[in-house]
């Protein structure tokens, strides 16, 4: 590749180029920002994300393949880039005051966050398995560090170690799968794999095992049962602002890779894969929702809830091989991710507002469900935001969560899997029990919750909760956007 080609390509991925340069610059600038003014780093990181977001939106119409086909910039990646960048911005808003009051305020926090987002953005564009792997590592390593940033708090360190060990394990699976796929098809490019599906059975089964291992590797990242073991502990142990970001960013990126790899490279394996995906989705829905019932800590509850939602998104992928619904299948998964992002941030904003630190032993408090008693009376606005989030998680109208579930269920039924749809709705009923419990505590029990009223946190909660309801009216353009994103993928 000549220098000229390189520049052309760098220009095509201007949003990525810009973000990585900005982040590297921020690492240096941060050295000169005094410790009591780390707010400047946060602001600069936010500005960087905002500019990147604008670049993404400006370039969103184009569909090109760059760096010799390693990355594809299309509607699909643009849609997810927007989700990721908005998540990044919201995460900074959530983190700022929280870090300050938890004595965790460090400049690295924001630069690591930006690096991780950069990895995620690479992941959603990656159209080569090697590229997916690199992106996976790039997004994961900063997250491992972030999970442990509250050290020497034991839970945080444990979370980081656990996440790292299991993450490395998952990466190995992914890499081995990639090797097998390469062995069977002679390529790691997604669009070459699809045309090189081998005919003889030995090679075909090699490919199948490879695809299965890739599923395992990515399944870890998106927390699908039975690869979910790390989730509750990591979600619980990591600082809440990190968890909030991780639960959306890592999930969105993981699912993006899963969708792209399966839809582009493995449509021919749909017959075998569908059964596996069906089973994974069903067991994830059941286990996630059932175990969530017994949780007393809100972070652990949300962790199991996030597992359950991963099951729902995976459900959308089950009929990906049925030609007539492939595009709807991916579009409804994307829509669900967006709905989940808004809902999840509303919930986490409230969680962070209630969390406080016991100065004696630096442990976090205010995280049990009982700590929410009386919130409805003391902080009506936050309680409304939390209620909206819970109802949207539950999938009750008039929230975006309902529309998202409706779209996914429709795809699944249309794809010919009514049994799975039935499991989907029945587990939603189970989830009603634990989501309602939060509302019961907030409104129907008395208590004196300790709440920080910080402007950024408060307005984030309000904004995300309001959009959870109001975007229902604009469900059509949003779904249209998601569908358009998929068309370029196919």
């Amino acid at each position: 590749m000549s220098l000229n080609d390189l520049l052309v390509n760098l220009n095509l991925v201007i949003h990525l180029t810009f973000l990585v340069l900005w982040t590297c610059g921020l690492v240096l600038v941060d050295l000169f920002i005094p410790n009591n003014k780390k707010g400047i780093t946060a602001a600069l990181a936010a500005v960087g994300l905002l500019i990147t977001l604008i670049l993404v939106i400006i370039r969103s119409g184009t569909s090109v393949s760059v760096f010799n086909g390693m990355l594809s910039l299309d509607g699909f990646s643009a849609f997810l880039n927007v989700i990721l960048l908005v998540s990044g911005l919201v995460s900074i808003a959530l983190a700022y005051d929280y870090l300050k009051r938890s004595n965790l305020e460090r400049g690295e926090y924001y630069t690591l966050l930006l690096f991780s987002i950069f990895g995620m953005m690479l992941m959603v564009s990656a159209s080569n398995l090697i590229m997916v792997f690199l992106a996976l590592e790039l997004l994961s390593i900063p997250l491992y560090v972030l999970a442990g940033i509250a050290g020497p708090q034991v839970e945080s360190e444990e979370a980081a170690l656990k996440y790292f060990l299991l993450g490395a394990f998952a990466s190995a699976f992914f890499l081995y799968g990639t090797a097998l796929v390469f062995g069977a098809t002679g390529s790691t490019f997604l669009n070459e794999i699809v045309s090189a599906i081998p005919s003889d059975t030995t090679q075909l089964s090699t490919l199948l095992i490879g695809a299965g291992l890739i599923l395992v590797g990515l399944g870890f990242k998106v927390a699908v049962v039975p690869f979910h073991m790390w989730t509750p502990d990591v979600y619980h142990g990591a600082p809440s602002s990190v968890t909030a970001f991780m639960s959306i960013g890592a999930k969105a990126a993981g699912f993006a890779a899963l969708l792209r790899v399966f839809v582009v490279a493995f449509p021919a394996l749909a017959n075998d894969m569908t059964t596996i995906l069906w089973a994974l989705s069903a067991i994830t829905l059941v286990l996630g929702n059932v175990i969530a019932i017994s949780q007393k800590n809100i972070k652990r509850m949300l962790a199991y809830s996030s597992i359950a939602h991963a099951g729902f998104i995976l459900m959308a992928l089950v009929p990906y091989g049925v030609q007539a619904v492939t595009s709807d299948s991916v579009a409804s998964a994307l829509f669900y991710l967006m709905a989940y992002m808004l809902t999840n941030f509303a919930a986490w904003a409230v969680v962070i507002a209630l969390e406080h630190r016991n100065d004696a032993d630096t442990r976090s408090e205010g995280l049990t469900l009982d700590d929410y008693a009386g919130l409805g009376r003391q902080q009506p606005a936050l309680a409304i935001a939390m209620s909206v989030a819970m109802l949207s998680f539950l999938g009750l109208p008039p929230t975006i969560g309902f529309v998202a579930k409706f779209f996914v269920l429709r795809t699944v039924i249309e794809g010919g899997f009514p049994g799975l749809a039935l499991i989907g709705v029945l587990t939603s009923l189970v989830s009603a029990y634990y989501y309602l419990r939060v509302i019961v505590n907030m409104y129907m029990r008395d208590g004196e919750p300790i709440v920080r009223r910080e402007v950024l946190l408060f307005s984030t909660a309000m904004l995300t909760a309001a959009s959870t309801v109001l975007l229902v009216i604009f469900a059509e353009p949003l779904f249209q956007w998601a569908s358009a994103a998929v068309l370029q993928l196919l």
């Binding site: 595009s327 709807d328 579009a331 409805g376 009376r377 009506p380 109802l391 009750l396 109208p397 008039p398 309902f402 409706f406 269920l409 429709r410 039924i413 249309e414 009514p418 749809a421 039935l422 709705v425 029945l426 939603s428 009923l429 009603a432 029990y433 309602l436 509302i439 019961v440 409104y443 129907m444 029990r445 469900a475 059509e476 779904f479 249209q480 569908s483």
Partner: protein, 507 residues
């Protein structure tokens, strides 16, 4: 928004104006909050009267239709589609009437968190009106599920000692049914390509075995709401724990959403399944009538007694609807209204005595007539209307239903045997037993308890809440024709379509 063009949207969402105003009030401004809610609901009532004036009773089809495309992407065909016809007009009026009455009844009963109470109450009204007006299955489902949320809060925050249990039970029970309905709605949307109810009825091309499944999925959701025996167990808990106004609306309107669902969706969408399953529904209805009456008699708590009497009364409604002839269905619709008025009023009078004595145990009372003569007289009228005394509203509804079900009892009728009518008539007698028993325990005989001697008779505000209902009790009882006139055309159309479905056979 131009009122002349789109009155249905206006009536449905007008309560939101009150909600917006309430949001800006302080928690301490209790009286202001009450007035805002009352005035909002009264204006909503006036709008609904205007709709009645515009309503053309001769037209069997949907009127004043509001239609805006909503989600039209990727093969979806979801519209904002509202309309009113003879099947729903009375229920709209019932809703808009009962809401201000309920709000008035809370004047001294709700002292805590008044603002929030009123917000939830007005939101509930939006949901209920939406349910009765929506003609698109997706839109209907949105409103249907939405009503759960405010009612859940009303029971859970302002309810009695076991309120949390009752609220969660109410929520989970209802949601369980709705989710199956959601799958059926999705099936219809995917295979028929539309969610619009009139279009779906027009198509009438669903194979009979599928109709049975779809009918069942819808029926479970509605049967839980009605509630039909044996899915009624959430009702006594919800009623006993709910605050008075909540009980009035729950009995008066929310339960009607179930019966209305059968009428609006099950019968016209799945005519074959309806004809085939009518005897089974009637059987459950009659069991409900008798069971509800017997269990009512066994209660010591007045509110529980009234709650179980609802199971019995709504059994009548279901029997009438599934007679599948004009008389039965018209009687069923009228009985929905009657039950809303009578049982709503009964819950109001129970609430009044509870506010004074803080108990609902019948043994704690006796001889109240001597202490509270006005209260006694009004309660007597309401009680007699509830048990179906000729000349009052309950009689007209029940008699028409029994006529209809008798007519459907011929070999070629929907029910096939007159025995349903016979056992249902037994329910009328049982109703007299438990109602009179209750009245006797509360009002007749000597005053046995010292606390009851100094009870105040009901005040003007309380009388005002009851008067409109009592006027309606006499009006419907003595001159029901205008009420039947409103629904005639639509019901005839429904019955005609059922008959043609039965004759034409299947695609």
């Amino acid at each position: 928004m131009n009122f002349n063009i789109d009155p249905l949207t206006l009536v449905t969402f007008f309560p939101l104006v009150g909600v917006l105003v309430l949001l800006f009030l302080k928690n301490e401004q209790k009286d202001l909050a009450r007035w805002v809610a009352l005035i909002t609901s009264l204006i909503t009532f006036v709008i609904s009267i205007a709709i009645l004036v515009q309503f053309n009773a001769q037209d069997p089809d949907l009127q004043m239709v509001a239609f805006v495309p909503w989600i039209q992407v990727a093969g979806w065909n979801i519209n904002y589609f509202m309309g009113v016809d003879g099947l729903s007009i009375l229920l709209i009026l019932l809703t808009t009437l009962l809401v201000p009455i309920s709000i008035l009844s809370t004047w001294s009963a709700v002292e805590e968190r008044v603002k929030e109470f009123m917000i939830f109450f007005l939101l509930l009204e939006v949901g209920m009106l939406g349910v009765f007006l929506a003609q698109d299955l997706f839109l209907f489902y949105v409103f249907w599920e939405f009503t759960l949320i405010p009612m859940y809060f009303l029971i859970g925050i302002w309810g009695g000692p076991r309120r949390i249990y009752a609220a969660v039970k109410f929520f989970l029970y209802t949601m369980a049914g709705s989710l199956l309905m959601l799958l059926a709605i999705l099936w219809l949307g995917i295979n028929q390509g539309t969610f619009a109810v009139p279009e779906l009825i027009e198509m009438n091309n669903i194979a009979p075995y599928l109709q049975i499944w779809l009918f069942a999925a819808f029926a479970i959701a509605f049967a839980i709401k009605v509630p039909m025996w044996p899915l009624h167990s959430w009702l006594p808990d919800a009623h006993v724990e709910a605050p008075t106004a909540g009980s009035v609306i729950l009995a008066g309107v929310l339960l009607k959403m179930g019966t209305y669902g059968f009428l609006r969706f099950n019968i016209p969408l799945f005519p074959h399944a309806s004809i085939q399953l009518a005897p089974w529904i009637a059987l459950l209805a009659v069991i409900g009538i008798v069971y509800g009456a017997i269990v009512s008699y066994a209660q010591k708590d007045v509110k529980k007694l009234v709650a179980y009497s609802s199971v019995s009364h709504l059994g009548f409604v279901m029997l009438g609807l599934f007679a599948l002839n004009a008389q039965g269905i018209e009687g069923g619709i009228l009985q929905m209204v009657n039950h809303g008025i009578s049982t709503g009023a009964l819950f109001l009078v129970v609430g009044m005595i509870y506010e004074r004595r803080h108990t609902r145990d019948m043994d704690a009372f006796g001889g109240l007539w001597k202490v509270m003569p006005v209260y006694g007289t009004l309660t007597l009228i309401i009680a007699l209307s509830s048990m179906g005394l000729p000349g009052l509203n309950g009689f007209v509804g029940e008699f028409t239903i029994l006529l209809g079900s008798w007519g459907a009892g011929t070999p070629d009728g929907a029910l096939g045997t007159p025995w349903f009518t016979v056992f249902a008539a037994l329910g009328v007698i049982l109703a007299a037993v438990y109602i009179l028993f209750m009245f006797q325990k509360l009002f007749l005989g000597p005053v046995t308890k010292e606390e009851n001697r100094k009870l105040l008779d009901i005040n003007w505000r309380e009388i005002i809440t009851l008067v409109p209902l009592i006027i309606l009790i006499f009006w419907i009882g003595l001159h029901p024709n205008p009420f039947f006139g409103l629904m005639d055309a639509s019901v005839e159309k429904l019955v005609a379509s059922l008959q043609s479905a039965a004759v034409v056979g299947l695609p």
